[in-house]
Point group: C2
Chain length 294, copies 2
């Protein structure tokens, strides 16, 4: 009954290393990517390359999707040649993209009507966590489906939590982006005050990271922000996509998120200056703009 | 030349356990507190109790002060019967309070005129860190004075960094409060969105804490906030005192800190409802008020 054949659709910065970790864990992996060239490194590691998402699903007990936006996942799962055309009843589809909770619920229902299980299982931990197999994975869907899929998830992540029914994984991922975005603002305002007060921000980061105001962002992205290294990591454009989903979901429940709304406006300043492909640590540049420094 | 005789003025939630750790490390400790009863537990541990701050300083090579506000530290150091009246030339005064950087510079100059060394050395890590001797300590002042005082600081803290000249310790502490305050808002907005979307916030905290959006606040205060446990820790009233210092210092350098200003307004909502003695995790209650839940 253990899962042996796994599919992976979407071999980008996150999906590529996640699929590679499934291969290393001993699963038979079939892959597909919109831009076919991205499948080549996986083929070299031993993956089979399919001609369509439907073909991936027809060869897999569990099929992962890891794409960018709601419309992308709807297309590869429900569109022509999509997963739903190839997946057998009793198989499982797991979407690791960050999309609207409503999209996750739609996919769950459409697949359930064919007897196919579905989990929304977005991830956190960046390309570093994807490569190391240490992602945090937040899964929504049926508990029995989660239990059955767990060995495959364990090949890619370290902290793997079934957080509730369909859509709950995406809700938790949106909460993750709320917290991450505000932790970035915390980092940026601390660096700005420190610099403009004439104190070395590298020393500030060293000691503040060790106390009650410490965070992953301060520790990992603070030094890059101080050094002026704005290479992504996680791009401003993608963060804005996610914060758009956050504020949409918050509006549906009339949940005021004044801090998150502010973070979105600061990233808007960067996008307005064609810096959407910078890493999110570039939020320090928005504060420099506010202060008339640039 | 090693320091043997140490004084401690201000035996509150932080100062009491810090003085106890100096005793445990083998220093001869003399203490004084405005409310004399708070000196008794230290006397039982072997501390001498002096009749005034001046007497503490006259018996000590290094004298610590750990009080609440700028006016308190000015009074115990510069006021009648204050440290400056008893401290010998060549001795050292170290203020661990969180006060304005300008106050630290004033104390440095007034003491330097008498040949007395001064460090501003505020701390982070809360009562837990004070008891465990694991505080983060951010010290401003002369490097030679820092080096000489280091063994005494090591009895109380774990990460101890000389961050720059007089006042720099307080600047870094204010940066710490900026980051801590916004990390609290991150925690609160994530919990609010999660709850109002019908997902269990305890599961959200478990998985988000493990990823790139993790922070000390989310990990340590998130569970208390979710459980409705608002006992301090660190009180809203004291956070507001510190955020007042932050915004004053930011104004002097014309540094826009829109997120920190927002955090201050949310805590203002709690103070308006007589909840200033709650712990800072009560910021989740401000978001409930915004959402019309209370």
């Amino acid at each position: 009954m253990a899962i042996e054949r796994v599919g992976f659709i979407g071999l980008g910065i996150m999906g590529g290393p996640m699929a590679a970790n499934l291969l290393r864990a001993g699963f038979a992996v079939t892959v597909w990517n919109r831009t076919a060239a991205k499948a080549e490194p996986l083929a070299e590691l031993g993956a089979a390359v399919a001609g369509s998402p439907a073909e991936v699903a027809s060869r897999s007990e569990v099929t992962f999707t890891c794409v960018t936006a709601s419309r992308d996942v709807e297309e590869v799962v429900l569109g022509p040649g999509g997963v739903i055309e190839g997946a057998a009843a009793g198989s499982i589809v797991i979407d690791c993209s960050t999309v609207a909770p409503a999209t996750a619920r739609l996919l769950y229902e459409r697949l359930a009507a064919r007897g196919i299980g579905f989990l929304d299982a977005p991830v956190s931990g960046g390309d570093v966590g994807a490569k190391a197999g240490t992602l945090a994975i937040m899964a929504g869907g049926d508990a029995a489906v989660f239990e059955r899929a767990l060995p495959a998830l364990q090949a890619m992540g370290k902290t793997i939590v079934h957080v509730g029914p369909a859509g709950a994984g995406q809700v938790v991922k949106l909460c993750n982006q709320v917290a991450g975005g505000l932790n970035l603002l915390a980092m940026a305002e601390a660096i700005s005050l420190c610099r403009r007060s004439g104190v070395d921000p590298a020393k500030m980061l060293e000691v503040v990271s060790a106390g009650a105001a410490g965070s992953w962002m301060l520790q990992h992205l603070g030094p890059r922000a101080v050094a002026g290294d704005f290479a992504p990591g996680f791009m401003v454009d993608l963060m804005q996509k996610d914060l758009g989903l956050v504020l949409e979901a918050a509006h549906e429940t009339h949940t005021p998120l004044p801090g998150t709304a502010l973070v979105r406006q600061l990233f808007e300043m960067l996008q307005a200056r064609d810096r959407g492909r910078d890493g999110t640590q570039a939020i320090v540049e928005a504060l420099r703009l506010l202060a008339g420094e640039a």
